[in-house]
């Protein structure tokens, strides 16, 4: 069984294609979205999802969120006694989704289609693939997030669609894709994005507005910085969501029995977020330019990603395009639904017979070369593109290079990915050295061919016609890829970590939520929460499901009333 997984910065989801449609699979708590959060519980057990997220403000040193931002790097975080890198944390989330899917479908899940931001570079993609393998899934395909959303949208009505633009502003990344659909063929024309722009950045904007105001006396300076940061971030998230509906919203944190609060107005937020909104323009412009499509010919602007619910973002989009954006797809679910469609395509489901998807390569790929500088010397370290960005994949392009010096013995091809003119600002993917016959400078021609396939694998073929030599390099990994045994070992370690049994997760989630609420409220309400908590724990002690379930329902209702609906 192949599922489609949206591995998001803030939330993740898993979906399946069956009976001619795609649907999302609920987790153990009955939610369709699972927060991308991992934490270590009091007894050293692993918590994933809502339970972990709720613990973040109470135990920030034992919880990790938004780790998608450092996937592909070697950064690690220490939770309790163990260090995790972003791959392992993602693997834990994926494993939790896998077990949710297996429980729902009643059969084992072996393969998955996982989504990545269109603008993820090669390293980030390989790391995501490894995370899937660590979770025990065969990663059938990586699909770009806006493409997945386009799939979901396109399949709602299998009409012809003039080029439309997918505007995906998620928790941590921003992607734009221009997609065309005709005759069941879904064709991506261009993609662009910003890997460092998302809802989290807007949270920080609110913090910047509120922080100076809530603590004129400077008492919060004594707080643990990590704890404080978490408290501020959580409060900012609430405030931002509330601002979607009201003209002003409260921003308050509770620390050591003191409440620090203020009001933030929508206009202040808009003013503070102005530079972020300005950054939304650039990828849109670039994708329009690259696909050579005019704004007027776009048929729709599709909004994807929770952050597009913000009125300031909607206003900016409306002004940018001169039209209202389209709400046809559910912004939180579209990507996972699209991933499920791709999973169905991979499984060659009969309902998807006439559907085909072609994507593009979002980054320019090339090598570094030197150019004469007009003073008799050479300017080295300049980028020579071989595959331009937004070329349809699979693709194969060739370029010719010459030797720089007389009797040169060897030519180095360093493979880079990026758009900067100087290679030092681009991402290096690999190196290939080729010996050349000694000849005067410029007499030896070397042919360099890049082949890039749909799974993002780059092959470099270098040929020297003068000597008949051919060399080939498949860009697997800049560092050595972990061997199969290493992967198996790491997977065993992760699988061996203590977890709650599945049916207990709902209880655990409620407990952690209650603990968080207890910390964030003061006075009377805190007492009530304490009492409710005691009652619920008593019910748990009976170990009788017939007692536990209604008690949990009641307690959840109570918590909802106290702190408002739990948001996802």
């Amino acid at each position: 069984m192949i599922v489609g997984i949206d591995l998001g910065t803030t939330n993740s989801a898993v979906g399946i294609w069956r009976d001619g449609r795609s649907e999302l699979i609920p987790n153990a708590l009955g939610d369709l979205l699972t927060p991308s959060a991992v934490g270590i519980g009091d007894k050293g057990e692993v918590l994933v999802g809502m339970a972990a997220r709720d613990r973040q403000s109470t135990h920030p040193q034992l919880t990790a969120t938004a780790f998608k931002r450092w996937i592909g790097t070697r950064e690690t975080v220490r939770l309790g006694k163990k260090s995790f890198d972003a791959e392992e944390l993602s693997a834990l989330v994926l494993a939790s989704l896998k077990s949710d899917a297996e429980a729902f479908l009643g059969e084992p899940v072996t393969g998955a289609v996982i989504t990545v931001p269109a603008y993820f570079n090669d390293r980030q993609r390989k790391a995501t693939r490894r995370a899937g393998e660590l979770a025990g899934l065969t990663v059938e395909r990586l699909v770009n997030e806006p493409t997945a959303a386009a799939l979901a949208y396109g399949l709602q009505t299998r009409d012809e669609h003039e080029p439309f633009l997918v505007f995906d502003l998620g928790g941590g990344t921003f992607d734009v894709s221009i997609v065309e659909m005709f005759d069941g063929i879904i064709e991506v024309r261009a993609s662009a994005g910003d890997n460092r722009l998302g809802g989290e950045d807007f949270n920080e904007a609110i913090v910047e507005v509120a922080r100076p105001r809530i603590d004129p006396a400077g008492k919060l300076g004594k707080a643990d910085p990590m704890v404080l940061r978490e408290l501020l971030r959580a409060a900012a998230e609430r405030c931002r969501r509330a601002l979607s509906e009201a003209e002003s919203a409260p921003f308050s944190i509770t620390w050591k029995d003191g409440e620090y609060a203020t009001e933030v107005s929508a206009s202040e937020f808009e003013a503070q977020a102005e530079p972020l909104l300005a950054r939304l323009r650039d990828p849109v412009l670039r994708s329009l330019r690259d696909s050579d499509i005019k704004v007027e010919t776009l048929s729709e602007v599709i909004l994807v990603g929770g952050a597009t619910r913000m009125p300031i973002v909607r206003r900016t989009i409306t002004r940018m395009f001169g039209r209202f954006p389209n709400n046809a797809v559910h912004p939180d679910h579209a990507v996972a639904l699209g991933a499920a469609v791709q999973a169905g395509l991979k499984a060659k489901d009969a309902d998807l017979d006439e559907i085909r998807l072609t994507d593009v390569c979002p980054f320019t790929l090339g090598v570094d070369h030197a150019v004469p500088d007009g003073r008799g010397g050479f300017r080295t370290g300049l980028f020579s593109p071989i595959i331009e960005r937004n070329t349809p994949i699979p693709t194969s392009r060739v370029n010719y290079y010459y030797t720089l010096q007389d009797n040169q013995r060897q030519v180095n091809f360093n493979v880079y990915q990026g758009e900067a003119r100087e290679v030092k600002s681009n991402v290096k993917l690999g190196t290939l050295n080729v010996p050349v016959p000694p000849k005067p400078a410029g007499d030896v021609v070397i042919e360099c061919r890049f082949s890039y396939d749909t799974s993002g694998l780059l092959e470099v073929d270098v040929k020297v016609p003068a000597s008949g030599l051919e060399r080939n390099l498949v860009i697997l990994d800049e560092e050595e890829a972990p061997s199969a045994e290493e992967v198996a070992a790491r997977r065993a370690v992760l699988a061996g970590m203590k977890r709650h049994p599945r049916d207990e997760s709902a209880n655990v989630a409620v407990l952690t939520r209650a603990a968080r609420c207890y910390e964030s409220f003061t006075g009377e309400r805190r007492d009530w929460i304490g009492q409710g908590l005691a009652q619920f724990e008593a019910a748990l002690a009976t170990q009788d499901p017939r007692v536990i379930e209604p008690a949990r329902e009641q307690f959840t209702q109570f918590l909802n009333e106290i702190e408002g609906e739990r948001y996802l």
Binding site: V295, M320, R323, F324, E354, G374, S425, T454
Partner: protein, 614 residues
Amino acid sequence: MSRHRDIWAVLGIARTSNVADIRGAYARQLRSFDVDADPQRFMTLRDARDAALRIARQQPALETDALSADQGETPTEDVPQDAEGAESLAFAPPPLPDAAQITAHLGEQPREGTVSVVVPPPPEADYRRDAAPVAAPAGDGAATLPGPGGGAHLEPAILDGGDQRGTIAVAVPDVALAAQMDQHYDAVRRLLAPHYGAPDERYLGADEEVLLAGHLDALLADPRLEQIAFRERAGAWFAEMAANSVPRSDSIVERLVATFGWAADRGRIDQPRDVARVLARRDSLVFFRLVQEKKHPLNAAWRELVKPASAGSRRSFGVNRGDVQRLLKVVRENFPDLESCFDWYRVSLWETPGRVGRGGGAWRPAYFGLILLLGVLRAAFSGSDHSPPVTVPTPMSSAAITAVMERQRKVNDPVSDIAMALRDATGGMLTNDDLRKDNPKLGAELMTAWREAHDRGDALTDFLARTRRDLIRRANVSLRHAPWQLAAESRQLELDQFEATRQQSPALCGALMDGGRMPPIVATRFADRENALIRHALLESDGAGGAAPAGGKFNVPGAVMKDAAARAALSHDDLVAALNRRSTPARTCDARIALLQAALALPPKDGLKLLREM
């Protein structure tokens, strides 16, 4: 090229220009195999489809073979590929299309239920270099308000676009606002480039700067800037304006960079040339300001290098040599504008001489000794040290100055002189090696011309100018005798240029036919193609003479006239009048475009004569 035949074979359909058919064929083919298993087949298919769509866009409303058979015309056989390969384009005979079909295809019919968003662009940068100011085209009066639809009036109500598919909110094009903004744009242009064409190297006066700032304030407050399409066009307009009017635009450069966020694109390979230029200028200005502050680490080196030669002929004391080297490196690599601030004599004092492969080593110590002696003498008698005020000079980099000085010399080296001439004529696309390989006869003729110039003792500039004119003339002659492929390419380029100019302003386009110049935005867009064409023509040229047809007149077959008249939606007589320039510039423009399209739509045998002579 046999690729063209294969396009239709790969797609599996007969040649057509119906976009839906091409896409349908592509879809059918794509579904028939697994892309991952056979990537090569996908690439071929995709290339074929893209090429087919390109061809289809150039030849609107061609019927398929079936329909032409109905009309009783014998379909041409697929022309067999001959040695040249140019005739391998299989043309179905183009029956004269229905006028209604033409307008339906060419006209922009809005889709049902939608209202198109109309956004008039700012006036194009109307100045032309090296040309006398062209009299404002009469009649249209559209010189200051071009753009699609010219600000059609629409209901000033915002449609609720929320749930209904296909309705779009209307950005109300406020005609009054557009007119007002256009006046500001005009004012900015007049301030920055007051003389049509000739780059003005004087700086702005203080009051002019205030005016400029005021106009810029108004322009940047334009609400239309929030729309992305308008913003893009405005950004391009400002970039071109500012880049071409350095140093007059110095005062607004910083603000433009900040508003349009050009700094974020720094170093990207797709950064437009004008934007890069403006950004470089702004960086130079910032550095210029910073380096003059006492606390800047390179301040001493700067003051040393800008000291004029007359103020002392020795290196100053207390200036670190490493600093000077670093300053030179930084300025040469990052701020080439500022290099002309330096006094060349000072720089030569500090710079390590490169290895020169000539002899004369024995003279150097004596020369040096002489300089030293003179220096000592001068120092003994020198007066006070004064540094004149330094302003950031005009944007002639040292490379440009060297180039200018270079050209004032006489011709002295055939290889480099001819190479320079070729570079001038073809924008760098043609080199001596190309000539040697492909057209040695032309190379020999250039060599003869050079020898004559050398014997006469001509200055290099004269030689370059004369050679350039000669090369262009040869290229034109060559095009007049070119095979179909080349002639079509040249006319296609002309067509694209006309259409792009018409998009900027129909009046300008009409003026183009009278020998005016294209707006720079258009010219740069097609510069590469034009240079490639000249290169191609020169390589094919056999130096044959051949006068231009007298009076620039040529004959057009009746069928083609009819076709062109239909395309331009004009009557036959109107078309003739327009082609003979006896009509409004806009009509003249449309007529020429229509004629070009009609000529290009003909099969090679019939069209060749017309394409050559047009």
